[in-house]
Symmetry: C2
Subunit: 413 residues, 2 copies
């Protein structure tokens, strides 16, 4: 006997979730509705609808109210249901290696604001969470940081008391707590710390992967369902979005493009491997190669300035890096067939000097019949990307957080 393939949650759970999403969607679309109106729009029976609504009201996603006396006609006042204007705020926090980035949206998914603060790399989680809380507190009063994500500033208020969830990006793999990246703090205590501080469910994922999700939802690849995102920074990492959803892989090890071998006889990599893409395409590797060729640049900005002014050694280094990156991405393209490749991170600022050799290598190694279809684009969300991805995670994976735990969700006790 052949059985249907089972999905992780049962059909009844999925059915209830679908009913709830339907009710929330109708309230979002139509504004306040009575139970009778909800029933006729949703097709749900009275019993089921009352049960679903009760759960949503109890969870704080929906509020019930009666219109003021003067607008009532006669008989019992009809209760109207609406989305809780205070319940839908979601925030994203990106705990990068040397900075905290935060973003917040309200129930209508309107941006309240974004903010960032750089810090030393040796801060504890408590110190980093302090920074995040302070940045979030500032969002209600000023939203001038919105400009950093290319959106018009909005006037808004952020009530930390009424948050519905937090999506959090961290450095390193998140499904494997015992083996976090050498640069990263252990994340074991972080979800509990955040839960204690903010009192809401916390969803955690790798911050580079969250940037991939954000670019696919609101950024450079908002028109594509299948997206390959690569970040060229101090580390080299990335993420895949498949059919509009973040791809994680069986053990959360998806998107590790920086650890694909580019030269089997190459340099040892911090991951323990040899000749990984990160050993030739990270900021440090690029600077080292440039200096070996006689170039002088104290940091990546100086290198990029030299490249932009046509410095031959810098251009040669970018040519080599672009080719290596393109060769690795071509292998991934043949495997997963993305529609758009988004390149982010500081090195992406090199522009055509990097992307031309990159596209040349793609052209040489992506199978001919797919070559003309892959688009290479520059990331558009900048350093706010991962925090925005945290919000996207909350919006996509937990419209009903209190009910449907996620793999790495910490719920309010």
């Amino acid at each position: 006997m052949l059985g249907f393939m089972q999905s992780p949650d049962g059909p009844l759970t999925r059915l209830r979730k679908s009913h709830e999403q339907s009710v929330l969607g109708l309230l979002r679309k139509h504004g306040p509705l009575s139970r009778a109106e909800l029933g006729s729009h949703s097709g749900l029976s009275r019993t089921t609808l009352y049960d679903i609504v009760a759960g949503l009201v109890e969870g704080g996603a929906v509020v019930a109210s009666t219109p003021p006396v003067e607008v009532r006609r006669r008989g019992r006042p009809v209760e109207k249901l609406s989305l809780n204007p205070n319940a839908g705020e979601a925030i994203g926090i990106d705990f990068a290696r040397r900075a905290v980035h935060v973003s917040a949206v309200n129930v209508a998914h309107e941006m309240i604001g974004s903010a960032s603060e750089a810090h030393a790399s040796d801060l504890t989680w408590v110190q980093r969470v302090d920074i995040a809380e302070r940045l979030l507190g500032s969002l209600g009063r000023s939203s001038q940081d919105d400009a950093s994500v290319g959106r018009p500033p909005r006037r808004g208020t952020l009530g930390l008391d009424s948050l519905s969830a937090i999506g959090v990006g961290v450095v390193g793999p998140i499904n494997d707590p015992g083996s976090a990246d050498a640069h990263a703090l252990s994340i074991d205590g972080l979800p509990g710390l955040l839960r204690e501080r903010f009192g809401v469910p916390v969803l955690l994922d790798n911050n580079t992967r969250l940037a991939a999700l954000a670019e696919a939802v609101w950024g450079a690849a908002a028109d594509a369902g299948d997206v390959l995102y690569l970040r060229l920074s101090h580390g080299v990492g990335g993420g895949l979005v498949v059919g509009g959803s973040l791809h994680r892989g069986m053990y959360g090890m998806s998107g590790e493009f920086g650890h694909i071998t580019v030269d089997p006889d190459g340099a040892p990599c911090e991951c323990g491997g040899t000749g990984c893409l990160e050993t030739v395409a990270s900021i440090e590797a690029v600077l080292q190669r440039y200096r070996s060729a006689g170039g002088r640049a104290e940091d990546i900005s100086a290198f990029l300035t030299a490249a932009a002014s046509g410095d031959p050694a810098a251009r040669t280094v970018l040519e080599r890096v672009g080719t290596d990156v393109g060769t690795v991405l071509a292998a991934v393209c043949n495997a997963v067939g993305p529609g758009v490749i988004v390149i982010g991170g500081e090195l992406a600022e090199a522009g055509a000097a990097l992307t031309e050799p990159l596209e040349g290598a793609l052209g040489a190694h992506v199978m001919p019949m797919a070559r003309h279809r892959v688009r290479v684009r520059h990331a558009t969300l900048g350093e706010a990307g991962s925090a925005l991805g945290g919000i996207a995670l909350v919006l996509h994976e937990s419209p009903l957080l209190s009910r449907y735990p996620q793999p790495v969700t910490e719920e309010l006790a």
Copy 2:
């Protein structure tokens, strides 16, 4: 304003689909139910339920019947609804390069049977469809071919008049009709031909990708949601199953592992590229390399026999092929993080002589923290895999075919 990411079909279509799946699931689980019983189990309102049931009865998926007079108590007889025992048969057909494979299951997803027939490579589609129809006609009378998929033979009947759908595997990419694989016939006319012959909806996909789905549903990786399948045969191809679903990529170009570059200075490949994995790991490439080393083998069976008997030249060839395959698969593993790698095709019969160097290369190139988690397994469904994958496609993607067209579905006019 940030919007929810839109899925390809609207929320109301999805809601209806969910309601229909719920009704079908309840009938599958409980057997015949009255409308009242369906209403109480499903939570749907009377109006919605009657509408959903009417659509299912009209589409032939559900039949309504009244119990015989003697079991009625009083009043109007209560109509019971049940799955149409004649409506749920699904068949899978694999049009391989030189053979047709068919499989069929009934409404309860019980195997009715499988059958195969080899043919010359220059047959037309009409001739191939004739073979498929003949093989399918034989399934009702004999199911001895079941043994070929490792399942106990079942007694069954296949009523071609009552098919609900056909899932069909073909050689080459399917979302790009103008650019089919050099070995393949154009598939442009095939869906129409099958629809005319069998009078039911046809779902088409690449046959190697269907084998991947079948291995993930019923085969070597039935316990894993994220599966990488590689077939080493006359061509080298594969498929990815992500979270239990077949991964297609933005333009249907997913799983082309055979065209990942393994040697930039290598031989030209039929795809137009250079040094693709297929140029070193296809049956022809392996035989050619073996013969260059002085080995004598007229075909792959003779080569495998030589390797099994310890022939040093054959072992050296397999060592090299296994290393190249493992190196390419390691790159894919770092990108997509599968839980299980399934190796199929004739070359997989070489066993440890192939998989040991393959696993060695995986160990050298998969990121250290993921290495111990990836399992390499031999495909278990053999040559019936792709036809079974056609059935899996029907069961997974079109429980309600007449209502929800698929990208490459041809519906009954």
